[in-house]
């Protein structure tokens, strides 16, 4: 009974954060709501007793990605008062498509019988086993992940670095 309430609470928090992130006009608020949504999601992970994933999710998304988003918003003048419509010219198409996708997903979930079953009794994922699997079965993905992250790091820096020599392109 308790985790029923807990699940609903977390789910509602996450959904609210997500909707707010998509709806709000003020970009910083959106970013913060997004961070809230990510935190809610981390909570749901914990509820699904996947602590490691939850903490990792919290650490990565709330700790790092949120800050990145916020910084980007500041750098791209997003923080100023937004002029014009928030939605793109043909935003109704987007909503239509999203609705269609939702219908498909929910339809498929509802129609497949196997999904209503209850979870196994206890499922814990001790860090010990995670460590072992990381080092044995998933060693290759781990190495490539290291490489990928380094590449992303360097790439990000290079792309976003302000060209030292070139004059600032004239304001359009």
């Amino acid at each position: 009974m308790l985790n029923e309430i807990a699940f609903l609470l977390c789910a509602s928090l996450t959904l609210a954060g997500a909707v707010a992130a998509m709806m709000l006009r003020n970009l910083v608020h959106c970013a913060l709501c997004a961070a809230g949504a990510f935190a809610g999601l981390a909570a749901i992970y914990l509820q699904l007793s996947a602590e490691f994933a939850g903490f990792a999710q919290f650490l990565v998304y709330v700790g790092a990605v949120a800050i990145l988003i916020v910084f980007t918003i500041l750098l791209t003048r997003g923080a100023d008062i937004q002029t014009g419509r928030a939605g793109s010219s043909s935003s109704w198409i987007g909503l239509l498509v999203a609705g269609l996708v939702l219908a498909c997903l929910v339809g498929s979930i509802m129609s497949s019988p196997g999904l209503v079953r209850l979870p196994a009794q206890t499922a814990n994922a001790p860090v010990q086993k995670i460590g072992e699997q990381l080092m044995n079965q998933y060693i290759m993905p781990l190495e490539t992940m290291g490489l990928l992250l380094t590449a992303a790091l360097l790439g990000g820096v290079v792309i976003a670095m302000r060209e030292p020599a070139k004059a600032n392109p004239s304001a359009r």
Partner: protein, 396 residues
């Protein structure tokens, strides 16, 4: 010995027993939370005064001694002042975010204490990935700092927030990396496991604390430096650099919100020192076998106070660093050094199997050398970033 040691645990169980079973977990949890908040709230008040008295003493002056005996009631006075002061919110500020900022900062910090083992089986939650939880929570503070800085729509606060975030991100990396050797050799992320790993005593009765190993010592130093930076204190307190940007991201806060910020800052400090104690100073273990009789939580508290004194000491002596020096120091010195510390830990672990009696000193010298040489080179490379020595010209 067991009784005194487990006194708190026992009373806790006893109180929980008063209530019906299905409610008991809730009650015990609430109890633990209450105790923790009470202890560390009091500790906050105490340290704010002690710190100022120590600073005074170190600067050859008295600290606050007017309020209560030896100024011990000064925090009470500050608290009342904080609470009664008018809580001014700038007009153009982003009301909601401005209001939420202190909350977003302090809540995660309180959560951080859940993991720390204050005494023998005196830790709120024994998480399997305790350290990860601790750092996850720690990383949430940057967002809160940003909220504070940005929402007050004030140039100084924004600049301060940016500086704080840059500093915290930069020093989070060495903080985490310096704990890696401890995790590797303890073989687990759970803090109790780590403390247990340091529980055994060498022949001479000396405890096998991590600090008594070359990588442990280096790790502790790195950890402490990173910790001070992480909690925006002393040499790294650029965000609140009073002289330049008033109070950094706290400029627009007053009254209770400021108090909250002040509280969460100190709580951050306490959490970090608690972690340092558990990781490097053997948690609640006694330094010597024959001192086992002293209750575990007392050991924890002692070490805790020692580190706090160290922080205050540092704050009193070291001047503030410039932002680029600060960042360079982190990225070009601390990060490489902590990576090398991991190598040292590997070397120590690999050479652990040497049987010869002289093995210990040889290993010590070897590993110490392994740390010292890169330390010297990195320092050299850092030297390039320092400004040339100032030449003073005196009027003839």
């Amino acid at each position: 010995m067991n009784g005194l040691d487990q006194i708190f645990v026992g009373t806790g169980h006893w109180i929980a027993g008063l209530f019906p079973v299905y409610v008991q977990p809730l009650i015990s949890a609430a109890l633990e939370i209450a105790i923790m908040m009470a202890v560390f709230g009091g500790c906050f008040a105490l340290t704010s005064v002690v710190e100022r008295k120590l600073l005074g003493r170190m600067q050859n002056r008295y600290g606050p001694n007017r309020v209560g005996p030896f100024g011990l009631l000064q925090p009470l006075a500050d608290g009342i002042k904080m609470l009664t002061k008018e809580d001014i919110v700038p007009f153009s500020a982003d009301k909601t975010v401005h209001f939420l900022a202190p909350l977003a900062l302090s809540v995660p910090i309180w959560l951080a204490f859940a993991v720390l083992p204050f005494g023998r089986n005196m830790s709120a939650i024994d998480l399997d990935a305790g350290i990860l939880f601790f750092f996850a929570i720690g990383s949430a503070s940057e967002l809160a700092v940003f909220m504070a800085g940005w929402s007050s729509q004030n140039k100084y606060s924004l600049v301060g927030a940016m500086r704080a975030i840059a500093q915290m991100i930069s020093y989070e990396v060495p903080l985490v990396l310096s704990t890696v050797p401890v995790l590797m050799l303890a073989g687990s992320l759970s803090l109790n496991e780590i403390v247990a790993a340091q529980g055994t005593y060498t022949l001479g009765g000396l405890a096998r604390w991590n600090v008594f190993t070359p990588w442990g010592l280096a790790g502790l130093l790195l950890f402490l430096i990173a910790a001070t930076a992480e909690s925006n204190r002393s040499p790294f307190d650029l965000p609140e650099g009073e002289s330049e940007i008033i109070a950094g991201f706290l400029t627009e806060y007053s009254g209770f919100k400021y108090a909250l910020f002040f509280l969460s800052e100190y709580l951050g400090l306490f959490a970090i020192t608690g972690l340092a104690v558990t990781l490097f100073l053997g948690g609640w273990h006694a330094p010597f076998r024959w001192l086992e009789w002293v209750p575990s939580w007392l050991w924890f508290a002692g070490k805790f106070c020692a580190l706090i004194f160290l922080f205050v000491w540092i704050r009193a002596t070291l001047p503030r660093l410039r932002l680029d020096q600060l960042l360079n120091f982190s990225w070009r010195f601390l990060v490489p050094l902590s990576l090398i510390n991991i190598l040292v830990a590997v070397a120590w672990y690999w050479s652990g199997s040497w049987k010869s009696p002289v093995a210990l000193p040889v290993r010590w010298v070897l590993c110490a050398a392994l740390v010292a040489l890169p330390y010297h080179w990195l320092a050299q490379s850092l030297r390039g970033t320092l400004p040339p020595p100032r030449k003073y010209t005196y009027a003839e």
